[in-house]
């Protein structure tokens, strides 16, 4: 007989949590004007996706999804670095971190 491992909650619970986190992140991206908080909301959405991937990886017993989570973390780190340096540059030029500032870039 196969050994079973209790992981506490059911699949739909974890799906619900990750969808809720993703929606919260999306709402944050749409509402907040502060560029730093906007980048943080993107990180929140990426983490929601990671949680979903790990959940399915556990429930179907396949480790490859966790490799994808690893790569998502790598890309998120690179993205945060570039985003923050663009933010610093924009702040230096306009003394503001309002995302509306980029409206001036109509070229």
């Amino acid at each position: 007989m196969e050994q079973l491992n209790n992981i506490g909650a059911s699949l739909d619970f974890y799906i619900f949590v990750s969808i809720a986190l993703f929606s919260i992140g999306a709402i944050g991206v749409l509402t907040r004007k502060n560029m730093i908080v906007l980048l943080m909301c993107i990180e929140l959405m990426l983490n929601a996706v990671n949680l979903l991937l790990v959940t399915f990886s556990t429930f179907f017993g396949n480790g490859e999804a966790q490799i994808f989570v690893f790569f998502i973390v790598v890309v998120a780190a690179a993205e945060a670095t570039i985003g923050l340096s663009i933010l610093i540059m924009a702040y230096r030029n306009s003394k503001s971190i309002d995302i509306e500032m980029f409206n001036k870039l109509n070229g």
């Binding site: 506490g8 749409l30 943080m40 929140l44 429930f59 966790q66 690893f70 945060a80 540059m89």
Partner: protein
Amino acid sequence: MSLQMISVILGSLTIASGLMVVLSKHPIRSVIYLVITFFFISAMYILMNAQFLAIVNMIVYAGAIMVLFLFVLMLLNLNKEMEPETTRMSLFTAVIAGGTLFLVMITALRDTFQYGKGYVQVPVQDAGLVEQLGKLLFSKYLVPFEISSILFIAAMVGAVLLAKREKQIID
């Protein structure tokens, strides 16, 4: 205290701290709440037996990326007057759009819910341990792994070039 109770408490705390990231007015509070959210997500990974990713999540996200955010926040030296205002109209539309997104995704994934009726036991597997992930990463996914290092170098060079103070030579 059963495992089911622990996971329900963890899930609700994760959602609550995620909400606080969006709701709190001060950016530094947002950063702290985001770090808390990442710790809760790491705890969920441990619950799901993905130990390697739990540690990576804590070190890379809560340790490195969030410290970067905090550094930039401290560097910019923002005060309260500089916090951009959110209009009531955009808040309203964003909440409607986000709620619709939530409902659509829940409906789309409804069919998967039949697998997870009630209390769940999964087969014992060591997919999330370092040994298994290392074997996968260095055999099947070796090329993407090497390419990600190129991505890191590009990001590093790009960040240095972007944030470097330009010389004022334009008169």
